[in-house]
Amino acid sequence: MNYTLDFTPVIDGLPSLLTACLGTFTLAICGMLLATVIGIGGVILRQSPLAALRWLVIGFVELIRNTPFLVQIFFIYFALPLAGVRLDPTPTAIIALGINGGAYAIEIIRGGVQSIPKGQMEAGLALGLHKAQVFRLIILKPALRAIYPSLTSQFVLLTLSTSIASAISAYELTSVSQRIESDSFRSFEVYFTVTGFYLVISWVMMRFFALFSARYFSYPVK
């Protein structure tokens, strides 16, 4: 028990750690965009008149929600080359994050769309609003507002799960910190500092989401 903490390798590695934060943000933002696209697409398919399509979406959502992200990322990492798609680890990780986040987004967005009473849409049309206006003002905005808290906290979880992408050595904070750790053997110091980085990253994201919400969704409902 004569261990002295030594943060010099961390301080020396600070520039590469900070750059790696950008890698984490890239993974997170691309993953969120892909997840949103999959989420909206999935909700549309989920309401298709074809039962087979509806069940396909339900099966996809349950499959993703009931298996670990780590297993999914391994599976995708090995399955893509077999399907003839050769990608670097980082794009592969984005696809995996998008697929994983998309399954959760489908469930969240579906709840939001269902929360808009049909009568509101009919009232909007009766008041002479154009169909696009009805969609934008009466369906989309209130639906977004209703799902905003759960969608954004899912996005924060997605950001944190980018650390798992280190398992296929995608470029992000965790993989860079593992490299510094294996060069210096200062495991605790490195991971302790990087944990702090993640805390700041998730805090910044939550603040941003809260500010956005205060700006766009702060109108009285009743």
Binding site: M1, Y3, E62, L63, R65, N66, T67, P68, F69, L70, V71, Q72, F74, F75, F78, A79, L82, V156, L160, S161, T162, S163, I164, S166, A167, T174, S187, F188, Y191, F192, V194, T195, Y198, L199, S202, W203
Partner: protein, 213 residues
């Protein structure tokens, strides 16, 4: 994939189940303490637990496992990967369950606490006999949901070097070069564990939604 490889995966599965149970049971005990501290009404205690919860909810589980794994060794506690990962997952679960149960304790109508106070019930009896039974009912769907998260989270123990289901899959996949088959089976095993719980959780949620109306 032969019979031997499959048995190796099943041994990994056994450790995943053991890890999930240990982390969930210990996490429940610690989580109850966190939830009670978080709703204690004492400003300092509430502040400290809020900070504790914020740290675990704001950092990746993988980092938490790394910090606990190397941090325990640092303070002189020699532990194998199994024990270190159990401690890490327990702490993680205590923060999440603490936050879930804080919400449910606060969701119990205030009048219940006030009535219990008016009946001169002490803190222990008030919590044990009045508030917690109702809070547990409210929290059940979210608690089951978190249990699924926790089972999936045990897969990260493989990165720290503990041979549970995912790492067993990694080892087999490196031996027989059939990653798709191996990870397909590994995924199916997780699915078999988690899906019944998910269905049960959704069922509980519907029942509570119906009874609340």
């Amino acid at each position: 994939m032969g019979r031997e490889e499959f048995v190796f995966l099943l041994i990994g599965l056994k450790w995943t189940v053991a890890l999930s149970i240990v982390a969930f049971v210990c996490g429940c005990v610690a989580g109850l303490v966190v939830a009670l501290a978080r709703t204690s009404g004492i400003a300092i205690v509430e502040g400290v637990t809020a900070f504790y919860i914020a740290i675990f909810q704001g950092t990746p589980l993988l980092m938490q496992l790394f910090v606990v794994y190397y941090g325990l060794a640092l303070v002189g506690i020699r532990m194998d990967a199994w024990a270190a990962v159990s401690v890490g997952l327990t702490l993680h679960a205590s923060a999440y369950l603490g936050e879930i149960w804080r919400g449910s304790i606060e969701a119990v109508p205030r009048g219940q606490t006030e009535a219990a106070k008016a009946l001169a019930l002490g803190y222990v009896s008030r919590m044990k006999d009045v508030v917690l039974p109702q809070a547990i009912r409210i929290s059940l769907p979210a608690t089951v949901g978190f249990l699924v998260q926790l089972i999936k989270g045990t897969s990260l123990a493989s990165i720290v070097g503990f041979t549970e289901l995912t790492r067993a899959g990694n080892i087999i996949s490196n031996q027989i070069f059939q990653p798709i088959t191996v990870f397909g089976i590994v995924g199916a095993l997780y699915f078999i564990m988690c899906c019944p719980l998910t269905i049960w959780g959704a069922h509980l949620e519907r029942r509570f939604a119906a009874s609340a109306r």
